[in-house]
Symmetry: C2
Subunit: 345 residues, 2 copies
């Protein structure tokens, strides 16, 4: 089967390729009758426009990029589903790009977008991202960028997050109410706004409880599971030993549980654990995991809606402002010790 | 910052845009000195080619598409990482497309590729896919397609899978060796080759053990967690009750465990469970999960290598043939009942 191109259509209809092209783009310069003939033949021969060629005319790729750190995380998997729901309803393609938490990768990806590959970008910045020049350069070229979950500081645009400070505060208060006296917070993104908010919520709860905050309570982890296991194990071997962990990134949960197992520390008897996690496995872990679960699907939907609204109105500068959706604390056996099967899920 | 385009470069250098364009493409029609001047200015002004424009010339997007059912599954997340490792080393972009197990979505995605958006496609077909016309149509237009994990029947191309029959046979034999007498297999893709292979391995082990195979032992599940919970719970309420489950898709594990919990069926005392799963959480489940883990990263790497080799040699018809990489059986508490922390992980 040979690929049908503009020239085939033009030859068959005894028209110029430029007339066929303009007819397919519904140009006012072409008569209704000609448009009808072109459309009919294009349909009959199953003509598919070359997206590169038609983009040159319209300067629209009908494509949005989603730039995220990882797909291992249930949060991002659910957010992608929310984004796709909205994009598909508006005829947009969604392309997914992974930074693997590398600022350099993120810069390379955004630089490639300057060529006009995508109409707009939804992003959740990498844990390493500290400068924002690559994002501003893209905005300056008229490609709108909106953030979800992890925003970059100092960029004026639409941003959909959850109430990170408040939910971290609630989780910390829950650990203190369960009797913990020496808490640690596991983080991979202390320099990001999201990381700082979660630390601020942690500090607020400690202060309210009359517990002094020590810098050493913040444990910096990485993107490598093996290294995280060593870091967390070392933290649990320190004296006084932490008796409560606030895990601010889902992927750290396996390393934290494994370190407790290997050190024969009972969860929750000796160490209580709360994780920011959207994993469906939370209810079947040993023990079932108390989680802060974020409205991932809704966040993706809302961010995509804001971006597409901006694109539709040709309003390349998206309305700056933050939409904050609430997270939920789900109390399970990793903090309260009731057998998993007795708890609501 | 205004976007630098070909015209800016041409005006500055007093050359025509077509000369600048050909110089940037290293055309033999342009003198070395002119090429040098153009390259220097392009570099100085940080010129980024419009990918749509340059694609029209070279007919190469330097992009490969990965078409997969889901990103919730650890297997696909790891396979993507393997694919990206190879693609990045060769300067290719990787675009990820999700079918959500829908044959219709898969057809729409592949149809859009006919416009020349990507140079080649790596795919793992949806659970619903039964006809292959959409794949053949793409191949007929010179876009090579290679399969990984889940292949479509009857398409001659490169294909990287695991030893599904053998590993399913091993898992089933393990369940029988543990004393199970009434096994059930949970599937979502009975019509795919991968699903049939796993069922064949199951049947082979039963036959060797002198156990008759009943059609009712195959439990058809879906892509919806709530529905799967109901299906699996119903299967576990049947008499005689299954005392061993071979879970052939990772996402069914949570529903299977939850159904056992809610029916107060002890794992492994009353029901033993083995899952095809690459989840890092397997070791921290309650109880730790016996798994068949697939070489996901290697599979992605190998499939991408075969595709890029074909593209490089302009050999659009990839060498047909199957690469089979071995999976591993990891025995944990969900079949043998030893506490999770005592077992090698």
């Amino acid at each position: 089967m040979e690929k049908i191109n503009l020239k085939h259509l033009a030859d068959e209809l005894h028209l110029s390729t430029s007339t066929v092209s303009r007819a397919l783009q519904d140009s006012h310069q072409i008569s209704t009758e000609t448009k009808r003939r072109v459309m009919e033949l294009a349909h009959k021969l199953d003509y598919v426009p070359n997206p590169h060629a038609s983009s040159l005319g319209s300067r629209k790729s009908k494509t949005i990029a989603v730039v995220i750190p990882e797909v291992f995380d249930s949060y991002f998997a659910q957010a992608i589903n929310g984004i796709e729901t909205v994009a598909q309803a508006h005829g947009y393609h969604v392309l997914i790009y992974l930074t693997h938490e590398s600022a350099q990768q993120e810069q390379a990806i955004l630089h490639a977008f300057q060529g006009g590959r995508v109409d707009g970008v939804l992003m959740s910045v990498s844990a390493e991202t500290s400068s924002t020049e690559h994002i501003e350069a893209l905005q300056a070229q008229g490609v709108p960028v909106a953030f979800f979950d992890r925003a970059a500081d100092g960029i004026e645009t639409a941003c959909v997050t959850t109430n990170d400070l408040e939910s971290s505060y609630l989780a910390t208060r829950h650990l203190l109410d369960c009797g913990c006296t020496n808490l640690a917070l596991l983080s991979i993104s202390r320099q990001l706004s999201i990381g700082r908010q979660r630390i601020a919520g942690f500090q607020k709860a400690l202060a309210e409880h009359g517990v002094a905050f020590e810098e050493s309570a913040i444990i910096d982890c990485t993107n490598d599971p093996e290294e995280n296991y060593r870091i967390i194990r070392k933290a649990l071997e320190a004296r006084p030993r932490p008796d409560g962990l606030l895990v601010t990134v889902e992927l750290l949960t396996v390393s934290a549980y494994q370190a407790c197992y290997d050190l024969h520390l009972g969860i929750p008897a000796e160490v209580k654990v709360v994780s920011f996690s959207n994993s469906r496995s939370a209810t079947i872990l040993n023990p079932a995991l108390t989680t802060i679960s974020q409205p991932a699907f809704e966040t993706g939907k809302t961010a995509a809606t804001l971006l597409l609204k901006g694109l539709k109105n040709n309003n390349k500068a998206l309305v700056a402002g933050q939409v904050v959706l609430p997270s939920l604390l789900n109390i399970r056996a990793s903090t309260v010790g009731v057998p998993a099967e007795r708890l609501p899920v």
